[in-house]
């Protein structure tokens, strides 16, 4: 059988089963990193930079070192090796060396017998800084005489793409529109702040329990940062209290815990406070996007030209990859012929940016999908129709060389339009549900579209997964897998895929904890890759285990394995249900015989994708693409500028939903984060200082912020996916902000081009356009 298992009748895949570990989570038994304690464990605290840019003249930590209960104090002198999430951009250190480049940068780390002693020690440390001129705007940072954040210059990465004939495309357009959009840094706000517990054994071998998304990648980076062989570093992922990209290990937390443990020879626990989590994680990159697009009279896009300035902040993390996504990914959503892009990623003295669910797509989706609505209006065309006329189709090779496999955008459009109660073209609008609207309020509807990869081949020419399926003597299956769980429930999908392949009940399948010591190499949940990439590896391993199972059963039953089938916990001869052995008997017999062994099969899968060419950016980077269409109805109070979300319709093409309720949960959660991105989330920065580093002043969506989205999982089948499945967790975060912006425009006739769309922006725009205006 091919990696993509067939389309037969599915019994386990497609069922909304409870998430693995749910019982532990609802009863308070699930252990997160902050719940872990080791004997003789020390507690760590970090002294951070108060300046956005300063030279470290001198650090006097002697009084802190002498404080009773303090066991170790480390500075940048102890952490000389450069680190970075991308090998080509190792631009930082575990603790600041010579200079600090953003407020909150880690400067000194202390480990003491308890947290209060560690905090007291921080008070005794004196750091002499010489403040340096700082720069906070990426365009200013590229200007002459701008302060150099790094000696290498402020330009981190420049991407130039020029395809087709953009000038001719604009010349042939009926309508051309140009506008600039601004997005803000968005904080992941996982309910669990980042933390790590590190310890060494008597030989100096390091074990780190870390809230990180990718244990194997973080093992490699840790070993490199600490100058240790990989085999001397073990990373274990406890339960994770949310991540959304924030715990990809771009921040220094687990490095610091590990370095302290090595320095003092005792277990060390480092837990970020909420404020430290704000300061330490790599927020969604702020981007300024100038967009110029033309459409012909039939609504076909004739040309697109884009200028992007990404605010990298002080250090890179994964932002050099994020900027490429902003620059290019959504070009594969429509049938472009002429595209020209200049994207620049620029160092500033703002907090560093990095990976966040959507990985660049939400920024560009806000700009692009707002822009398309303007073009539709100028053309006098329904905005949904404009998108329909340009959307990619199954079998397309897009302008950047992406091969579109399954693509059910048409169904997504149809379902969205049907449920939101179009037409979407702007006109005086009554509420879609016919409810009366209070005086001074206006209703509006907006739509937007986005896509996402299902795994992406980026830095290395491997986007694979390795797993092992082992059957136990009682006939149960264990998936030995290091992909891990960041809370989204990916491993639950893997158990369903294994159970479907093996023909056993899903609750007979478990997944090992993610531990570099005991699991084969893999990348972990990111880029919406787990279901497709790890799912295909699980199918291969489970097929191998099934072959071994049928082989031993054939020997026991004196039958050919081809004549056997698995059903009801047993293996029997087809047509002779009485000639049977239980799975447990077969598994046991496989071990207890001469030269016996466990039923134990490896599965490895590498996606049929390529690394995009480093110069031309051409190439099919993913095995499959997921699509999300959303429509939002809002009510805008023209007196206060407050936006209330009345309805959200979300239609998603995720191929086969392996666990529909879990997929729906991903869509709900993505939309809630998208609502926050649209309306109220964002760093308030003043000269690089974060003014709202707490969950009271940085509001995220609450249960009262939004209604339950109406979700539709359209019928689809991805040929490269396990049982037709593809990723689904990231596409639905991207369209939400533009759908809301478009709905606000529909309601009150003002186009807000910067996020978040706060009431003051709406009121100012209403004033500027000359008082209130009826829709």
């Amino acid at each position: 059988m091919s990696a993509a298992a067939g389309r037969g009748k599915l019994t386990v895949v497609g069922q909304s089963l409870p998430m693995l570990g749910a019982h532990d989570k609802v009863s308070g038994r699930a252990l997160y990193v902050s719940d872990l304690k080791l004997p003789h464990m020390l507690h760590a605290k970090i002294l951070r930079s108060p300046y956005p840019h300063a030279r470290i003249v001198h650090i006097d930590a002697e009084r802190a070192r002498r404080l009773r209960g303090v066991k170790v104090v480390l500075t940048g002198a102890d952490t000389p090796r450069p680190i970075g999430a991308i090998g080509a951009h190792k631009d930082e250190h575990i603790l600041a060396v010579d200079k600090v480049r953003h407020v909150g940068e880690e400067v000194v780390a202390v480990a003491a017998v308890d947290e209060n002693t560690a905090l007291d020690a921080l008070e005794l440390i004196r750091v002499d800084y010489e403040e340096l001129p700082a720069v906070f705007d990426p365009e200013e940072a590229l200007g002459p005489g701008a302060p150099a954040v790094h000696a290498s210059g402020n330009l981190v990465r420049e991407i130039r793409i020029d395809r087709g004939d953009v000038d001719a495309g604009f010349a042939s357009a009926a309508v051309v529109h140009e506008a600039t959009y601004q997005t803000q840094p968005q904080y992941h706000a996982p309910m669990e702040p980042t933390g790590a517990v590190a310890t060494i054994d008597a030989s100096g071998r390091l074990t780190v329990w870390a809230a990180v998304q990718s244990i194997h990648r973080n093992q490699l980076r840790l070993a490199d940062a600490l100058g240790l062989p990989t085999s001397r570093v073990r990373v274990i992922q406890p339960h994770m209290g949310g991540s959304f990209g924030g715990k990809l290990g771009e921040d220094s937390t687990h490095y610091i815990a590990a370095r302290l443990a090595l320095a003092c020879g005792r277990p060390v626990r480092l837990l970020n406070t909420r404020l430290e989590d704000f300061l330490g994680v790599r927020a969604r990159m702020a981007a300024r996007i100038r967009l110029k697009m033309g459409v012909d009279p039939a609504g076909r896009i004739t040309a697109k030209e884009t200028w992007i300035h990404g605010d990298n902040g002080a250090y890179c993390g994964l932002s050099p990859e994020v900027i490429l996504v902003i620059a290019a990914r959504l070009d594969s959503l429509y049938r472009h012929r002429n595209v020209r892009t200049l994207a620049r990623l620029v160092y500033t003295n703002n907090p560093p940016s990095g990976a966040f669910r959507g990985f660049g797509n939400p920024q560009m989706a806000f700009a692009l999908e707002s822009h398309l609505d303007v073009l539709a209006e100028q053309l006098g065309m329904d905005p949904l129709e404009l998108r329909r006329r340009n959307s990619v189709q199954p079998g397309d090779t897009t302008i950047h060389g992406w091969s579109i496999g399954s693509c059910e955008l048409s169904k997504c459009y149809e379902e969205t339009a049907k449920r939101i109660g179009g037409p979407l073209r702007r006109r005086p609008r009554a509420p879609a549900d016919g409810a009366p609207v209070a005086e001074g309020r206006r209703r509006g509807i907006g739509i937007a579209v986005a896509m996402h990869v299902s795994g992406a081949r980026q830095a290395a020419d491997w986007d694979g997964s390795n797993v092992v399926v082992k059957l136990t003597p009682d006939g149960r299956a264990v998936i030995i897998c290091g992909e891990g769980d960041i809370g989204q429930g990916g491993p639950t999908a893997l158990t369903q895929i294994a159970a479907e392949t093996l023909g056993i009940p899903p609750d007979h399948v478990t997944v090992t904890p993610a531990d570099t010591e005991t699991t084969p190499f893999c990348f972990g949940p990111m880029a919406s890759r787990l279901t497709l990439v790890a799912g295909n590896a699980v199918i291969k391993a489970a097929e191998g285990a099934r072959r071994q199972l049928l082989s031993i059963a054939g020997q026991l039953l004196e039958a050919s394995p081809e004549d056997l089938t698995i059903a009801g916990g047993a293996i029997h001869v087809v047509g002779a249900p009485d000639r049977r052995v239980t799975i447990a008997q077969a598994c046991t017999a496989h071990i207890f015989r001469r030269d016996g062994e466990d039923i134990f099969a490896r599965g490895t899968y590498d996606a049929p994708s390529v690394v995009a060419d480093r110069k031309t950016y051409l190439g099919n980077v993913s095995a499959a693409y997921s699509f999300a269409v959303q429509a939002v109805e809002v009510e805008v109070d023209v007196e206060t500028g407050v936006v209330r979300i009345i309805r959200i319709v979300a239609a998603d093409d995720v191929g086969t939903p392996v666990n529909p309720r879990a997929v729906e949960g991903q869509i709900h959660g993505a939309i809630a984060q998208g609502v926050g991105y649209a309306l109220f989330e964002g760093f308030a920065l003043e000269n690089g200082r974060l003014l709202n580093g707490n969950l009271a002043d940085y509001p995220v969506a609450t249960a009262a912020s939004m209604p339950t989205p109406e979700t539709v999982l359209v019928d689809g089948w991805e040929p490269n996916g396990p049982f037709g499945a593809k990723g689904g967790s990231e596409a639905p975060i991207s369209p939400t902000a533009a759908a809301i912006a478009n709905a606000i425009y529909d309601a009150v006739g003002v186009r807000i081009t910067s996020l978040p769309i706060t009431p003051d922006k709406i009121l100012r725009a209403l004033r500027e356009r000359g008082g209130r205006r009826d829709a």
């Binding site: 909304s16 409870p18 998430m19 570990g21 749910a22 019982h23 532990d24 989570k25 609802v26 009863s27 308070g28 038994r29 699930a30 252990l31 997160y32 902050s34 719940d35 209060n116 002693t117 007291d120 992941h188 706000a189 996982p190 309910m191 669990e192 702040p193 339960h239 994770m240 209290g241 949310g242 991540s243 959304f244 406070t273 909420r274 960041i486 809370g487 989204q488 429930g489 309720r661 879990a662 729906e664 949960g665 869509i667 709900h668 959660g669 993505a670 939309i671 809630a672 984060q673 707490n694 969950l695 009271a696 995220v700 969506a701 609450t702 249960a703 009262a704 939004m706 339950t708 989205p709």
Partner: protein
């Protein structure tokens, strides 16, 4: 710097406990560190997120905003004490059934808030449930399945 410790008696999940705590000790830390009841979570440290919600004499409170000494001789219920002996409380079962959790970090707090809510009122509308949950933050689920789980437990939705 260590401070003088005070003797504290309280009842936690039906058991008498006696602790020696500094006056600055938060109830949250007394539960998690002194009693090992780590199901109660620290999220925001300032009473905004509700991850640390426990019941004190049946009322839901944020244990990060209370000093341990403030609950002297009171009855505290944490997520570990909601159901006896490995069984599931109906709220816990409803959360699992509805898929009302993902990472699970906020879940104990939501469940304790729900317990107080349903103890006070059996019948609730969706709007009332959403309002009652607005002191608990969940970053994963978008709340829809949590609301669904709670409505499934209330009486008026079945009429």
């Amino acid at each position: 710097m260590s401070l003088p410790r005070h003797r504290l008696t309280l009842r936690v999940n039906g058991e008498e406990q006696e602790l020696l705590v500094e006056s600055r000790r938060l109830l949250l830390d007394a539960l998690r560190d002194d009693l090992g009841l780590t199901g109660t979570k620290r999220g925001c440290e300032e009473g905004v997120c509700g991850a640390c919600t426990v019941l004190v004499d049946g009322r839901h409170v944020r244990s990060c905003l209370l000093l341990a000494l403030q609950v002297r001789d009171r009855a505290v219920t944490t997520i570990e004490g909601l159901a006896g002996d490995g069984a599931l409380h109906p709220i816990q079962a409803a959360f699992i059934r509805a898929g009302a959790l993902q990472c699970g970090y906020c879940t104990p707090g939501f469940i304790m808030t729900t317990k107080a809510l349903l103890d006070a009122r059996a019948a609730l509308t969706e709007a009332e449930v959403r309002e009652a949950l607005s002191g608990n933050i969940c970053r994963c689920t978008g709340y829809a399945h949590i609301v669904e789980a709670i409505l499934a437990l209330t009486e008026d939705t079945k009429r």
